[in-house]
Symmetry: C2
Subunit: 343 residues, 2 copies
Amino acid sequence: MEGGFSMVKIAVDMMGSDSGPETLVDSIKHYLKDFDDVSFLLFGDEKVLSELTKDCPDKNRIEIHNTTSIIPMEIKPLEFLRAKSSSMYQAISAVKEGLADGVLTAGSTGGFVTGATILLRTVEGVLRAGLCSPFPTRKASHPAVILDIGANNYDTEEEVYQFGIMGRLYYQHVLENQNPSVYILTNGAEEGKGTDEVVGAYRLMRERNLPGFKGNVEAREALDGNHDVIVTPGYPGNIFLKACEGVAKMMNDLIKESFKMNLLTKIGYLFSSKGFKRMRKTLDYRQYGGAILLGINGVCVKAHGNSNEYAFYHAIGVCKKMIDVKIVDKIKEEFHDSVNNND
Amino acid sequence: MEGGFSMVKIAVDMMGSDSGPETLVDSIKHYLKDFDDVSFLLFGDEKVLSELTKDCPDKNRIEIHNTTSIIPMEIKPLEFLRAKSSSMYQAISAVKEGLADGVLTAGSTGGFVTGATILLRTVEGVLRAGLCSPFPTRKASHPAVILDIGANNYDTEEEVYQFGIMGRLYYQHVLENQNPSVYILTNGAEEGKGTDEVVGAYRLMRERNLPGFKGNVEAREALDGNHDVIVTPGYPGNIFLKACEGVAKMMNDLIKESFKMNLLTKIGYLFSSKGFKRMRKTLDYRQYGGAILLGINGVCVKAHGNSNEYAFYHAIGVCKKMIDVKIVDKIKEEFHDSVNNND
């Protein structure tokens, strides 16, 4: 406690980012300057981190924990358990031990899902954690929250149904929209479309009256800004995520090329750049900071591997917000009720 | 035979298009004007079609067959069998009876897959037909051919492997590239990524030395122009297709809005429009005409439901090309060999 309000503590795995710990330190400094109710536990190479944080604005709000290894991009559960000396293992453990209120990493997604599930476990009643990400949509500042985008290869109908409950709670409390609509991503809008688990999830949502449930949505309409929470098993969810990223990148490249074609088109850019800056802002997924592992006993945020300072700054914000609104408690209450109701 | 070369006959379901038979008739007239080695069997409402084709440039190359019903967007196999009077049923039957060399529709995809499979059957040795579509990529005029994009919900590892064989033959003969690369779409580039059928297909392609097989590709890289044939089970394939369409449409809308924002941005468009016209051309999926049902005993092309005259004209071209290069015979030969080799 400081000055009458609680200090939020975030454990950060400083070693997994593509761009190295420098970028993460820059974001953290920036965040410390902007907010006075957060402190950080930094896990990584002590020598490197001490040097980088030398000029930190508020040194009593950072704490460096030396770690001696890094979780590789691909890791098996048993290997993770053996990697106790790694920055990611230690950062997750800090939440388990109550030293931190949430954990943030830009490292291996697979490692993080494995580690968080093993060390923190899923909330009682939650069958499996889902990786959840806000996507930019056609409507500025109106994200669609999609899960699972790749924590799992397979999900049962019950798991997909539970993603609906958790995605909805996330939208309500973190994105502050009390009545989000909930849809199932599938290969046709009609009831009965899709694979067995998707058809089964539809049935469960209807039978159990999931609030806001509106039916199926095709991938084509998912990002039109009229679909708030969208659930899917992790494998097609991951294909969806990466297809969107791929087409957006391709079109961005082609837009740049279009303007660079000749002198006239370059002049065209001078006149129209304001419109395109607005477009870039609408589509900037970095404003949403990364993906959240929902259903775990602890706030777990996975920043983009190629996060720049701006993206990582927002990932810290997401982590902070989830802690502030006590999203894990909200999920616990919901599943506690449903576990009891089903008895 | 006419003038020493063979006349290709294409059966066209005139009644399934969103924009009505008018657009299809316009494309056909255009095609008749441009090429003299094609004739058409048109299936649909005789009265309407007679009126529309009154001023047809070469009337002896069209033949109208009256049909009295239309296959709805959603249809079950048994219902299809009962819909004998429909334009789609009759158009497919024309191929079965040897009256036409290929069939073209802009109607229900599900109906077409069902009808073609029931009436024409799959090629001996082919376990299941796959819906195959050329996608525009980062490189102009260098499509990626992806299948299955939604004929099936589930596919076995052997089916996904067979899509590789058929996609490769399509790329070689229809797109005239003798050495296409072949990839499996999945949620990570490393071997072992993905669901069981995808991991199994990888193993089969390695064991049986599928020519051109290069491993996995993530959805993010699929359309970079370096991946020629990409195979996937139909459900994630459909999610991929529609995610791409959705993002491309969203970005096109945002580009338009960006230019329309104010007077300056409108002036910007005047200067830069040449670049953006080139971009639109690169990304125009209509240049590829639609999707092809590969593995069926007959040339089967599904034009986009919202085909305009230009798109349908290209769909006719694709159908013609597949007939000219005898793609069905090529697939038969390949599977005849493999059936014998496996014995």
